[in-house]
Amino acid sequence: MTGGEQLIISGVGGQGILFVTRILAETAIRNGMPVMTSETHGMAQRGGVVISHLKAGEFSSPLVRPGRADGLLAMKEENIALHRHFLRPGGWIVANASRVPAGLEGHLVHVIDADALALEIGSPQAVNLILLGFALARLTDAGLFCSTHQVIATIERRLGEKGALRAASLKALRLGMERAEA
């Protein structure tokens, strides 16, 4: 499978994991890539661990096999340990955590305290987009299949008619991007 990219996005119910997955998947389509994602619904979504698999490129299975993911986006620190086994050697981790956890040698790790930032801007539900903005800005050289500009375009298209939500979403995304440069 050349040119394809496989990501794991994980967190707990209510964190907006499906929204982030959808934004990335729609961006992949705009980039002309075939895309498949796999989601968690129903009882598992109630406060439990939520994981989504995203595969952009020539794939046929909707699921990522352990040891094959290029990256892991973890909305909670506890999800790193839970889903790190999906990563291939050298795969990246971007996580919502206050500091880099020990024992992650062999992976490129970036962390941001998105919980604290979300509280700072008075928007507890913004954690997902803060983390996404941070990941996009930090991974420019790691070969993510899309750029921050493309993701902004997707959010604008998707939330175009929802003014306040669109503005809040872009604000959260940009906050994450800014902190990536700090």
């Binding site: 895309v35 968690t40 129903g42 406060g47 439990g48 909707p62 699921l63």
Partner: protein, 605 residues
């Protein structure tokens, strides 16, 4: 719509239904099938197609409504999950004999894993038992395409056709180029034929003979014949796969470098398996590996134990999903090559599903346990099943069984004269679905227990679909309403009171009254009425917000985190005290009345 669009498998099927000129669709929500009907309602509105689309009160009703449309010559469909098909199995079995006039597609979504179901049953086995042909898609896009194929098959042979997607098809998203929508120009025209539509047993015998003939024809129907995914490959070994296992197998073959070594046959119609295909398989190959979820339905039809490896041979596990990593190991073993070392997931860790912060059910269970601390608690299917974390749920069987089981426990214990308090819980949607007949039975048989109807004004577990009490249906269209209290009273219940569980002291008092009534006078119904916290469709009033904090009086006893289990109350290992996680707290304030030391207090009071 001419550009590629990211569609959820269920939305893709919904689009397929609208594309195919389907006129009537009825469903009852159930994960993983829930979004099919809401998708149909959405496309119907977007394209302005005249259709009847409804959330029916249960799957049996949904099936029968759609079936009548198919009897009238229209294209029709019904969508449910595998345990929903159990509810609709009575008409399903019979409809195969009677047949259809217009195309009829029954979507029954399976949940190998299982991720959100009571069972891992295989709807294809039910289809086999009913003698209904079944199509097994490997992806959202193929599911959409097989809707059209299903209607053609159904109309060619005048039989209902099952489409059996699984969780990984329903809840996968894929970029899809949807086809054009052509509204149906048919009008309903039911042609009376009592020997068919109202057949007595003598005629049913004849219909069964006809059905067998149809099945023989379907087993030779070219459009749904198995497909060789890597033509030109010859080998003594062959892979035969259906559903998402075929998608996994395709990718795995590629990664193992076996794409040009082992032929991979995808079966889209696992029942009836094409006769010529079976003959060809057994003639051409020495070893055949069958990959399918969940039961060995194709394997059963490949009656050659010596050459066929699969679930019945013990080569493929009969329980759980066929994950791509498992398929990789199986294919490598079958090919006789080393597999990549398996990467084990960590053991333990993670969070179990729990009721949302601020969920009214949490308060209801707390009050139930206070009112009947030594009670038996039968419960039912819905979010509130998670009350088992709180010790408020003792049994869960199937939709509506909380009521009949409560009655059953009463009758069983009454024989020895030692009846404990019995408090059953059922959701509002589940009550309408299957709770009314057992309630009538319980009243008539004088079973004495408390039934708490947890009325959060929605079908919460499956994504907030409407109930008959709300006054709106699929796509938000207005509907008539049914009054729950009136219904309960009409069933002969003399104690029927409602309360707001978020007001814990008052609701606990109401529960105690109900328990006392049940001990001496008969069946009592309490309606615990408070809206679901995550329901965005709810437009009525909500309880006032009550922000809380934990005071110095907290001694870390953890009563609130273990007995009340609100995700917003977190035990801090460093301070040995409980803190409020303001990121998730919904400010329901119920925990103020839960702490035995009164250490949780309302901010500003």
């Amino acid at each position: 719509m001419s550009e590629r669009k990211l569609l959820l498998g269920n939305d893709a099927m919904a689009h397929g239904l609208v594309e195919s000129g389907c006129s009537v669709v009825a469903s009852y929500p159930g994960t993983p099938a829930s979004e099919i009907l809401s998708g149909v309602a959405l496309w119907r509105e977007r394209y302005g197609v005249p259709m009847h689309v409804e959330w029916a009160v249960n799957e049996k009703v949904a099936f029968e409504i759609a079936y009548a449309a198919a009897q009238s010559g229209l294209r029709a469909a019904t969508a449910m999950k595998q345990v929903g098909l159990n509810v609709a199995s009575d008409p399903f079995m019979s409809a195969a004999y009677l047949g259809v006039t217009g195309g009829f597609v029954v979507i029954s979504a399976d949940d190998p894993g299982p991720h959100s179901s009571q069972t891992e049953q295989d709807s294809r086995l039910t289809a086999m038992s009913a003698k209904v042909p079944v199509l097994d898609p490997d992806s959202p896009n193929q599911a959409r395409e097989l809707i059209a194929a299903g209607f053609e098959l159904s109309e060619a042979f005048r039989v209902p056709v099952m489409l059996r997607p699984t969780t990984r098809v329903c809840h996968a998203n894929q970029d899809i180029l949807p086809g054009p929508v052509a509204p149906s120009e048919r009008t309903a025209a039911f042609v009376k034929d009592p020997t068919r539509w109202a057949a007595t047993p003598v005629f049913r015998h004849k219909l069964h003979l006809e059905l067998e003939e149809k099945l023989a024809g379907i087993a030779a129907w070219e459009p749904t014949a198995p497909r060789l995914l890597n033509p030109g490959v010859s080998s003594g070994k062959a892979l035969v796969a259906s559903g998402v296992a075929a998608a996994h197998a395709r990718e795995v073959l590629e990664d193992l470098g076996l794409r040009d070594v082992i032929p991979l046959w995808q079966v889209v119609q696992p029942y009836p398996l094409h006769t010529a295909f079976v003959e060809r398989l057994l003639a051409d190959y020495d070893e055949i590996l069958v990959l399918e979820e969940t039961t060995g339905v194709m394997e059963l039809q490949l009656a050659d134990r010596h050459r066929v490896k699969g679930k019945r041979s013990g080569f493929v596990p009969e329980v759980g999903e066929l994950s791509p990593e498992l398929v990789e190991r199986l294919v490598a073993a079958f090919a006789g090559i080393p597999a990549a070392p398996s990467v084990a997931p960590p053991t333990g860790g993670g969070r179990r599903p729990t009721l949302c912060p601020g969920c009214p059910h949490r308060a209801s269970f707390h009050a139930i346990k206070r009112a009947a601390p030594k009670g038996i608690y039968p419960s039912d299917i819905g979010c509130y099943t998670l009350g088992l974390n709180l010790g408020g749920v003792d049994t869960v069987l199937c939709m509506g069984a909380a009521v009949s089981q409560a009655a059953g426990f009463y009758h069983a214990y009454k024989l020895s004269g030692q009846v404990p308090d019995i408090v059953a819980t059922i959701g509002d949607s589940t009550f309408f679905h299957a709770g009314i007949p057992p309630l009538i039975d319980a009243v008539v048989q004088d079973a004495r227990f408390v039934l708490v109807i947890l009325d959060n004004a929605t079908t919460a577990m499956t994504g907030n679909q409407p109930t008959p009490a709300l006054g709106w249906g699929a796509g938000g269209v207005p509907t008539a309403t049914v009054d729950m209290e009136g219904l309960v009273k009409a069933c002969g219940v003399r104690f029927c009171r409602s309360g707001e569980p978020g007001n814990l002291p008052a609701f606990t008092a109401l529960m105690k009254e109900a328990v006392a009534f049940a001990r001496t006078d008969g069946l009592a119904v309490v309606i615990a009425r408070q809206p679901c916290v995550v329901d965005r469709t709810y437009t009525g009033e909500r309880p006032p917000k009550r922000a809380v904090r934990v005071s110095d009086a907290c001694n870390g006893c953890r009563f609130c985190t273990t007995q009340f289990e609100c995700p917003a109350l977190v035990y801090d290992e460093e301070t040995k005290r409980v803190v409020v996680d303001t990121l998730v707290c919904s400010k329901c304030g119920v925990c103020v009345d839960v702490c035995p030391r009164l250490a949780i207090e309302e901010v500003g009071k």
